[in-house]
Amino acid sequence: MVEQVAQMVVHGEAWTVKELFVLPNEYIYWSIQIVMYPFMTGLVAGAFVLSSLYHVFHVEKLKEIAKFSLVFSFALLPVAMMPLMLHLQQPFRGINVMMTPHFTSAIAAFGIVFMTYSCIVGTEIWFVYRQYFVSTALDLRAKQNRSLVDSFRLTLFTALTLGAWDISKEALETDHKACSKMAAIGIPVACFLHGYAGFIFGSVKANALWMTPLMPVIFICSAIVSGIALCILCYVVTQEIRKFMARRHLARWADDPNAPTVEQLEGAKQEEVEMTSRYLVYFMVAAITLEILDLIFRGYTQVKSWDILREVILERDFNKIFILQYGFGNALPFFMMLLPGRNVRRTTIACALVLFGVFMMRWNVVIGGQAFSLSFAGFMHYHMPFIPHDAETFKEGFFGALTVMVTPFVLFYFINKVTPAFHKEKDCH
């Protein structure tokens, strides 16, 4: 008698349902974390590009939001790496990518591009906030009877000045120039960081849906769209919180005589949102055009894979692609922003929808690309694990994705204590 042995669950089996003929080894190996990965790097790149619009092209009206988005992009940086680490089967070997980078692989460049980009963002923030570091450290030093927290802050800010205490007009002018240069170098690097995320997918010739040279460009455009949308959304939300705090005198800064009034905050918000959303619309037009072009091209050329792609795109994933992504994520916010009588509230809702649309686009690319078998004779369905029952279903499930989603906001809270994104005085550029 044959002994019944319990089935061993292989990676991917927990969330993959196969239909018709699918090769035995095929599963949805790249799941929610790989959806999160381009989404998060996109936000990083987008937020940085937005901040560069002020620093490089001197769009003065964006000054306030530019500072905010620069600090926010710094908070997002470590999070771009998180989904990858959560996805790896051998996370402790992740460092191997830095040790033996195999340069024929698109992922191998990750370490180098990511480090370069981190350095650029870090340097730029330092130049922007150097004057603030110096003056804070000097203020603290002059203070009598420092508390423990003050002593800690003094040490921290003294360290952050890196010994550069000169805040004469000439020195600040040099800072400003250096800052513009870093931002200028940063734009292509940010685009490269995200463009190559698109290349990772676009270069997989085995996957009929992914393989297109347009993929990196589509990814860059949608990255900028999502980054700007997130910055507007967060900016409005934080300004609302600040307004609330100013009105109720909840924060320490609210009692300061130089503190912005509720009216000033409201005015600044409207101006910044108005200007920024205009850029959002420009980039949205570019992103949607490219995506539609790709779709039309596939339908028109009708190569071998079109039969199965048509079934996935036009039938099985129709709701996800045309209703959720293009409908709610692109068309609706587009009209919301173009129709007359636009106000901050409407723009904010539109931005939330845009973010959802970009997330759905990542989902439809990553999961949709694995929805059909290499045999072109079967389909795979993805069921995202909600309630985790082991480490794997946590990491690559709803709560893993949520962890990645929440982390940048937690980081922003702490980073904001050191480099305040809303610092109004002339202490920073």
Partner: protein, 257 residues
């Protein structure tokens, strides 16, 4: 001990130790294992001879420690059934590790289809395994270089260096790769490298009772299997990807992908 004796004995020790120590010379492991440029391994599969018994799958799983109760496999057998009313059915339940003992077709999700034998136009089996491509897309995309091609034409994975990103699995157009359920690294057919480098056959070739699977050194024109590849009409899977597969098929139907 006198200084003279000490020097004498030191010389003897150094001379004596240098003989075994010379064996520790640093060499490229690839060189030691297989650097024989005269050998280039290739595989030949005769679909006319395969009956879908699944012995090859069993032998492979046993030989290479792939758990029987895991739904992944280094080699598998597919069944193709074409009905007279022009319908096509394909299945490979559990990679055919238990052989095709049932006539009904597995449609997935617990659904099965019984086909009237009178209605069957043609039906055949196709064994599959890693094609050990000449230009493998899987080794190209590995971010850490943990998977590589040996000089004698076999694509291998270094289990101690693989980070488990799954990029190679995505890049393989043949679905030959998977995550090993125990080792948690990418895994694939190795042409039983531990056997062929010792002059033995692969486990699947050894287990096939009908000679549907054969291996050869494609550089040796006197090898009978090489001669079949040279003289008969053989095909490869998905040649449009430019991967130059080294697994050749006799009697390949165009529907087999």
């Amino acid at each position: 001990m006198e200084r003279r004796d000490f020097l004498k004995k030191s010389i003897i020790v150094v001379a004596g130790a240098s003989v075994p120590l010379s064996a520790l010379e640093l060499v490229d492991p690839k060189e030691v294992l297989a650097a024989n440029p005269d050998i280039h391994w290739a595989f030949l599969l005769d679909t006319h001879k395969c009956v879908g018994c699944g012995f090859c799958v069993k032998a492979c799983k046993t030989e290479n420690d792939i758990p029987f109760n895991a739904k992944v496999t280094r080699t598998w057998v597919e069944r193709y059934v074409y009905t007279k009313d022009d319908r096509r059915y394909i299945d490979s339940p559990n990679g055919a590790q238990d052989g095709y003992t049932e006539s009904r077709i597995d449609l997935g999700q617990g659904n099965f289809k019984e086909i009237d034998p009178e209605n069957v136009g043609k039906a055949f089996f196709v064994p599959k395994l890693c094609n050990h491509c000449e230009t493998p897309p899987c080794t190209q995309v590995c971010p850490v270089g943990a998977t590589y091609k040996t000089d004698d034409g076999v694509v291998l994975v270094d289990r101690t260096w693989c980070i488990g990103c799954g990029y190679c699995i995505m890049a393989c157009p043949y679905g030959a790769r998977f995550f090993h359920p125990v080792e948690k690294v990418a895994d694939k057919c190795t042409f039983c490298y531990h056997r062929i480098t010792k002059g033995m056959e692969t486990a699947c070739v050894n287990a096939c009772p009908f000679g549907a699977r054969k291996m050869c050194n494609i550089n040796d024109i006197n090898d009978p299997v090489t001669q079949i590849i040279m003289n008969q009409r053989v095909g490869v899977l998905k040649d449009e990807f430019g991967t130059k597969p080294q697994a050749f098929y006799i009697g390949l139907a165009q529907e087999v992908r």
